[in-house]
């Protein structure tokens, strides 16, 4: 491990290192730094206020609401995005025709920009739109999909689910390839049902992937922004205002950089907390907790 070799290694790492330094590490520490300053009175002359921004946020009913909204959104999306794509992957993985056609069509929403997906759903959600027509056919009163504060978040979550199913299905499909065929043959001899076959063999075998999907989908749920920006702008009555939307508003509309940064740091802690929680829930055997 001579010096020349170490130097060589760092030369390879240098270009990526510069980008990560400028656009990741410096901004990261700057976020923490800015969160201790008050910009609300004068953007050009921030005042050091230590933890005041954090205290203000925790005391702010609106910020607490955005946290609760974000968790509500997470609860709506994540269980579905963990379970349903697995179900689809198992179905596609059976010995059936047209597998690839199904894969391509179900994956299609993943490649289309979330902006277009949100616009398409906004159109479905219109008061006289297709979905309300379907409801009417089913003799259900039309819904204010995006205008009723009680259900607006559910409507937003449907868009996220729609866009995510194909992505997680592909992750599961690649994991299913690693399940040894012999295991199924053995249980088939016992005459096990479809359901039992997969709860006994498939699910335990791909548990690490289920954990990964829960982690990825939780983190992306905590970061939700574009769906809300395009469809509801946080409304009606702040019912779809999430943490990232709040940070965005504070930073880029109110220029309240200190509060926005403190919000970002809190979000960061929540995201990290979730990653650790997922490790504990799914891999507690490994760590013997």
């Amino acid at each position: 491990m001579d010096l020349k070799k170490s130097l060589g290694a760092y030369l390879f790492l240098l270009p990526a290192g510069i980008i990560l330094l400028i656009f990741f590490f410096i901004p990261f520490f700057q976020t923490v730094y800015l969160s201790f300053f008050d910009y609300s009175k004068d953007v050009y002359n921030p005042v050091f206020v230590s933890f005041d921004n954090y205290i203000a946020l925790i005391k702010s009913p609106l910020f607490i609401k955005t946290i609760l909204n974000t968790f509500f959104f997470l609860i709506l999306c994540v269980p579905f995005l963990v379970i349903f794509p697995l179900f689809l992957a198992i179905l596609i993985n059976q010995n059936i025709r047209c597998k690839n056609v199904y894969k391509v069509l179900i994956y299609l929403p993943v490649v289309i920009s979330i902006v277009v997906v949100a616009i398409a759903f906004k159109w479905l959600y219109a008061p006289e739109g297709l979905l309300n027509f379907v409801l009417e056919k089913l003799h259900i009163a039309p819904l204010g999909w995006l205008s009723d504060p009680k259900i607006a978040m559910i409507s937003v979550a449907l868009v996220t689910i729609f866009k995510g199913v194909g992505y997680y299905m592909m992750i599961y499909l690649s994991a299913l390839m690693s399940v040894p065929k012999e295991l199924y043959e053995a249980i088939d001899v016992d005459g096990a049902s479809f359901f039992k076959k997969h709860t006994v063999i498939t699910i335990p075998h791909i548990m690490p992937m289920i954990a990964l999907v829960s982690t990825i989908s939780s983190i992306s749920a905590l970061k939700v922004f574009v769906e809300i920006y395009v469809m509801t702008r946080g409304g009606p009555l702040n019912s779809t205002k999430t943490i990232v939307y709040y940070i965005y508003e504070k930073a880029f509309e109110n220029l309240d950089l200190g509060i926005a940064s403190a919000g970002a740091v809190i979000l960061l802690f929540i995201v990290m907390g979730f990653s650790i929680l997922n490790i504990f829930v799914f891999e507690k055997d490994k760590y013997a907790i």
């Binding site: 290694a9 790492l13 270009p15 592909m170 995201v271």
Partner: protein, 279 residues
Amino acid sequence: MKILKKLSIHIILIIVCILSLVPFLWLLSTALKGRSENIFAYPPVFIPKEITLENFKQVLKLVPIVKYVINSFIVASSTVILNVILSALAAYPLARMDFKGKKITFFAILATIMVPFQTIMLPVYIITLKLHLIDSYGDIAGYLGMIAPFAVNAFGIFLLRQAFLAIPKEIEESAVIDGCNSFQIFSKLLFPMVKPTLALLAIFTFIGSWGEFLWPSIVLTNEKLFTLPVGINNLSSAFSSDYRLVAAGSIISVIPIIVFFLALQKYFIQGTNEGAVKG
């Protein structure tokens, strides 16, 4: 029994496929309806009475969508090229060399995955402004500002590190005997060997960059440099009263990426087919 089971699987999958197409087909149907046709008709009309391309013509006249496509293409392809090169360069020593500080470097890169872009975007914006990488300093600066923060990411580095690790050491050793230095080993020998992984990284980076909305919408001030998602969002608020135009614009905007996806679909599904490389 067997047939019944297969049939029910097909039925479920066909329903899911239809569901994943309906929102776009409904958008397409709306875009093809003429001025005289009520787009709020009850019951809804799926196949327009008179199919017309009028809305497409009009939206192309009113909004520079072709320009948006070109901008998106410039941003996405530059992001891809930078990601492929920078990730490969950074992944190589992490996979193949022993050096002081390797562990720390590795964990520093890993840490970047844990931190969502949204939590640091404000300082990233401030830095981009200070570096004069926004469109008010010229078109090239504007493009660079959209590209630079995404020029490399930890997922790409780890993906390629895995690919480099899978190459047998002996191949490298023979090159060392032939007197190649580490850059030659990298560029002539190992880089070409990880082409399939590079293709995968390129495709996913392209799709991600093509659909990116948040960052371009923050840095862009000049409509000249709008990428598709920003342009289409702008269109949807500007013409919110005329959904025919919004729909037509949205449909035009998804054509390039759908063509790209269908042309390269085998790369998307190759990791999910039996007979592919088993991991």
